[in-house]
């Protein structure tokens, strides 16, 4: 009987010890397999604690094993990664929110697939962390404060300072202006209609036959003008030839125009004629002797 008691007690105590050890291992590490450690340095206040999941592109591949506070402003975090997962060397670690209660997870995100992987005890570079609920709440707070200020200013300007009244007056003035514009536009429209009617009437009064004959006359006149222009051109050509001849000094006219001797002769002749005329005037009887009987 006593031996049986000892066996039973031994069994239950052993069972409790096994449950304690295996249960703790399972809860703390996810099993007997310890995995390999990787490190990441996050700034203070990242909200990390032991047991938080480590996600490789969204897949749970391990957990946060240890968080050490360093005085240089960093939290050196040991990530325990399951042995069957390799973290590509292009990965960056970031703290991301996990759920809506401010819990965090460490997200490992490779920039591209890479067969090379981090080795145990390597340090993963950190990327920008996604804002958590706390940061979003503080941002929302600051936005709410700004909105409040804007609302107060609006309240002050629009209500207290009479902005709404001014706005209403402006709207009324605009309405009046629009009515006046409408009246003017209606008057203009009416006048335009009348003008168009008159124009239509005038257009109807024009005789197409007369227009045709006028056009024909114009055409004829144009042809005559063209002919006259040709004749003028021909005449001008002939004149050019004459002038050229005069310029060259050949012919009577040219010589008359170009010979200074002839000019002098003419001058002398004119002088003699002048003196003759003067003498005639002086002594008409020498030249004119009129006898009637």
């Amino acid at each position: 009987m006593k031996t049986r008691d000892e066996v039973l007690v031994g069994l239950i105590v052993t069972a409790a010890i096994i449950v304690t050890v295996l249960g703790s291992l399972w809860l703390a590490r996810g099993g007997l397999s310890k995995g390999y450690p990787l490190y990441a340095k996050f700034p203070w206040g990242a909200g990390l604690k032991q047991g938080q999941p480590v996600l490789l592109v969204g897949v749970n591949v391990g957990y946060v094993d240890q968080v050490d506070l360093h005085q240089d402003g960093t939290l050196v975090t040991m990530l325990r990664i399951q042995k069957n997962y390799k973290v590509p060397i292009t990965s960056k670690a970031a703290v991301v929110p996990n759920g809506i209660f401010g819990d965090q997870a460490v997200a490992l995100t490779p920039s591209r697939p890479d067969p090379r992987a981090f080795k145990p005890d390597d340090t993963i570079p950190t990327g920008p962390s996604t804002p958590g609920i706390a940061q979003l709440t503080s941002k929302a707070d600051s936005i709410a404060t700004s909105v409040n200020a804007v609302t107060s200013a609006l309240q002050h300007e629009m209500v207290a300072a009479g902005g709404i009244r001014d706005l209403r007056n402006a709207i009324n003035s605009t309405n009046r202006l629009v009515s006046e514009f409408a009246a003017v536009a209606e008057e203009q429209s009416r006048q335009l209609s009348a003008t168009l009617t008159s124009l239509r009437r005038a257009t109807g009064a024009i005789d197409p036959a007369k227009v045709d004959s006028t056009v024909k006359n114009l055409r004829t006149a144009s042809a005559n003008m063209s002919e006259m222009s040709a004749q003028l051109k021909e005449t001008s050509g002939k004149l050019d030839v004459i002038i050229a001849k005069v310029d060259s000094g050949n012919g009577s006219a040219a010589k008359l125009l170009n010979d200074p001797g002839a000019y002098n002769d003419v001058r002398k002749l004119l002088q003699r004629m002048d003196s003759l005329v003067a003498d005639i005037k002086k002594n008409p009887k020498r030249y004119i002797n009129v006898r009637l009987f």
């Binding site: 008691d5 239950i12 999941p53 209660f101």
Partner: protein, 254 residues
């Protein structure tokens, strides 16, 4: 009893004398060691089915209620986290202690009280046996050792049934529940549960043995002592529970 303002101090003084006697009795291992295994069987092995049933149902109810108190948008891993923390830190040790107060504590008081009223204790003294070493110390050692064992098993069963219930009866997946179970877990949480269970075991054995050892003459005296032992031990367990939480809970955070 009522109206005597010194009675609480008298009681505390009696407990102190009894504790002193227990301390003296530890110097006589030949008397208590052979009996200890038998008491471990009585207190530990025989109580396992009851502790397991209680823990199983408590685990299931905890998971189920936790799931349906979450509002939309809360990640379901919270069910695992709350179930683990509730069962390991509080419900496992506390309910095991209270259940064993009824099952084991009452039995200890009745056994020792009957021996007192039938003058078997006096006979032991006549035979130069230390009655405390023979009757109280084995029960105390057995309770101190077996309560943690039962509590660890109750914790495991409670968490297991919580996981089973959450996964089968609600929309919580195994991955969700497991993620919550592992979140912020530290081995100290198990140690905390063991510390509670050890102190509860000591309280059960000590107060129930004391009430039996000081039982009044007659069957009625034994009955009264048994009832009082259950009440005092239950209250003592609750007080110790609060004190341990007050002292050790700050160290629980991961």
């Amino acid at each position: 009893m009522i109206g005597d303002p010194l009675s609480p101090f008298r009681k505390v003084g009696d407990w102190s004398y009894f504790l002193r006697d227990i301390g003296r009795a530890f110097r006589d291992p030949k008397t208590y060691v052979p009996e200890t295994i038998r008491q471990m069987r009585n207190i530990g092995v025989d109580s396992l089915p009851l502790a397991a049933i209680v823990a199983g149902f408590i685990g299931a109810v905890t998971a189920f209620q936790t799931r349906y108190q979450l509002f939309g948008g809360v990640q379901l891993s919270v069910v695992g986290l709350i179930s683990r923390q509730s069962i390991i830190l509080e419900l496992g040790p506390l309910l095991t202690g209270l259940v064993l107060t009824g099952r084991v504590g009452a039995r200890i008081t009745a056994e020792i009280g009957t021996m007192r009223v039938t003058e078997q204790i006096d006979a032991l003294e006549t035979l130069a046996y230390d009655p405390v070493a023979y009757l109280v110390v084995p029960r105390l050692i057995a309770a101190l050792l077996m309560l943690p064992v039962l509590t660890i098993l109750a914790d495991a069963i409670g968490v297991g049934t919580a996981m089973f219930t959450a996964v089968t009866a609600t929309d919580v997946t195994t991955a969700d529940f497991t993620a919550g179970l592992r979140l912020s877990f530290t081995p100290f949480q198990i140690v905390y549960s063991i510390i509670k269970a050890t102190i509860f075991g000591g309280a059960i054995a000590f107060f129930c043995s004391y009430e039996g050892y000081t039982a009044n003459v007659g069957a009625e005296g034994v009955g009264r002592s048994t009832a009082q032992a259950v009440v005092v031990t239950s209250v003592a367990i609750l007080v110790f529970d609060a004190l341990i939480a007050l002292l050790l809970a700050p160290y629980l955070q991961a």
